[in-house]
């Protein structure tokens, strides 16, 4: 888990975060990632599905179910237990990093 977390990039982190609350389909994931990142990250389908393939290959994400809406296929994905563990490790690490940065910033001497 530690090794996987170390290589986790921001889009991957937000995709897994979006899936943490429950299964989601591709379009929904793109919307949620944009919302979670404050609009900074706007995933495109090629990037999203490439990331989902990789995460599925690593066993962090799995296909859930499919449905047809307006004649279009929607496939749902969910976070697996190892995926949730990897995300939790990543979140703890990011929090620790942020705490360390803020603590150092408080020691910063501002020129008079």
């Amino acid at each position: 888990v530690t090794v996987i977390f170390a290589a986790m990039q921001e889009p991957t982190f937000f995709i897994m975060t979006a899936l943490a609350a429950g299964p989601q389909h591709g379009y929904g994931l793109i919307q949620q990632v944009a919302e979670l990142s404050g609009g900074r990250l706007r995933l495109r389908p090629g990037t999203l599905y490439g990331a989902l393939d990789r995460l599925a290959g690593e066993g962090l994400v799995a296909r859930e179910h499919e449905e047809v809406v307006d004649g279009r296929l929607r496939r749902y994905y969910r976070l697996t237990d190892p995926g949730a563990a990897a995300l939790a490790v990543q979140a703890r690490q990011l929090r620790a990093n942020a705490d360390a940065a803020e603590a150092r910033l408080r020691l910063r001497v501002t020129p008079a």
């Binding site: 379009y27 490439g50 393939d53 307006d70 929607r74 697996t80």
Partner: protein, 327 residues
């Protein structure tokens, strides 16, 4: 935005999706298309440049990593028999030129004084026999026997490589063993059944020994001034010619085999096969075991990297939650 509202856009998106491999498209195209259409702006008729770039990058990335294991496997099914054919033909050439043709030690005087050139023959001739037998079995369509003989030849060559590098035994130089060993390993790593060739493939493969051995009469009559061909002798340039013939023959046979199988797998087989012949040319062009060992190591590292990438990026269409990850 729902599908069906953008018939032109949908058609153009589908065209972009062709960047992905066919197998991937069969499984995912409708899903990705649905997402793309859902993200499209009202009235949009053309994919935006960023969308096109994203699809092309995604498709190329998928092609680069997804079917690599299958590609390598199918490439090995072509490279394996060709490697063995090449090894058998080389073994025959080396056996005839350096071990069987009359050769004797002789002395001569030049500006450095009296010098003696030892007999060119080594104790390496038995090593070539399993290769020739394996080639014969391959051409006769005896798959299991071919693999068994290749295994025997590889084993012998491995021992010879160690002996040639570490002892003063009168054996052929290191590059001979290294090249045969690499070709043998390539043949053995081909998928099960790959060494049991169809009649058409065997005919195509006959090109290798026929073209190589076809030059033997010319070589036998070559004006060597009484001196025999030798591994490290003054006939190096001549040897180089032989090796270049090997390379050309290999390419011809590769094309012929690919045509015989109506397949494009040869494209993958080329890089797999390029290592040993490159080593051969390198070894005969430059003296020094370090160069040869470095070339072998480089080739092996390259193949290992390829194998790692294959396992790392194999795309799996359906994967249940994976095994627990180690902490």
């Amino acid at each position: 935005m729902s599908g069906g509202q953008h018939p032109e856009l949908e058609r153009r998106y589908r065209r972009l999706l062709r960047a992905y491999p066919a197998g991937y498209r069969a499984d995912r195209a409708e899903e990705i298309l649905g997402t793309m259409l859902a993200l499209a702006r009202p009235g949009q008729r053309w994919p935006r440049p960023a969308e096109a770039a994203d699809m092309l990058a995604g498709g190329l990335g998928c092609r680069a990593r997804a079917p690599l294991s299958n590609t390598i496997r199918s490439g090995l099914s072509v490279a394996g028999p060709l490697a063995l054919a090449l090894a058998g033909a080389l073994a025959t050439v080396w056996l005839v030129f350096f071990e069987a043709l009359p050769g004797r030690s002789f002395s001569f005087v030049d500006e450095y004084g009296l010098r003696t050139v030892p007999s060119p023959h080594t104790a390496g001739w038995p090593l070539y026999l399993p290769w020739i037998a394996a080639l014969a079995a391959l051409l006769l369509g005896l798959g299991r026997l071919t693999r068994a003989l290749t295994g025997l030849a590889v084993l012998g060559q491995l021992v010879a490589l160690i002996l040639a590098a570490g002892t003063a035994w009168p054996l052929p130089p290191v590059y001979v063993h290294a090249v045969l060993l690499l070709l043998g390993l390539l043949a053995l790593s081909s998928p099960a059944g790959a060494l049991h060739l169809s009649a058409g493939a065997r005919e195509a493969l006959l090109l290798v020994p026929v073209l190589l051995l076809g030059q033997l009469p010319l070589r036998v009559g070559y004006p060597t001034g009484g001196e025999a061909f030798r591994y490290d002798g003054p006939w190096r340039a001549d040897l180089m010619e032989v090796h270049l013939t090997v390379a050309v023959t290999l390419i011809l046979a590769l094309c012929a085999l690919a045509l015989a199988r109506a397949s494009t797998r040869w494209a993958t087989a080329v890089p797999l096969l390029a290592g040993p012949p490159a080593l051969l040319v390198c070894a005969t062009g430059q003296r020094g075991t370090v160069t040869q060992v470095a070339a072998v190591a480089g080739w092996l590292v390259g193949l290992a990297a390829l194998g790692w990438l294959t396992n790392r990026y194999t795309w799996q269409p359906q994967r249940a939650p994976g095994p627990p990850l180690p902490d």
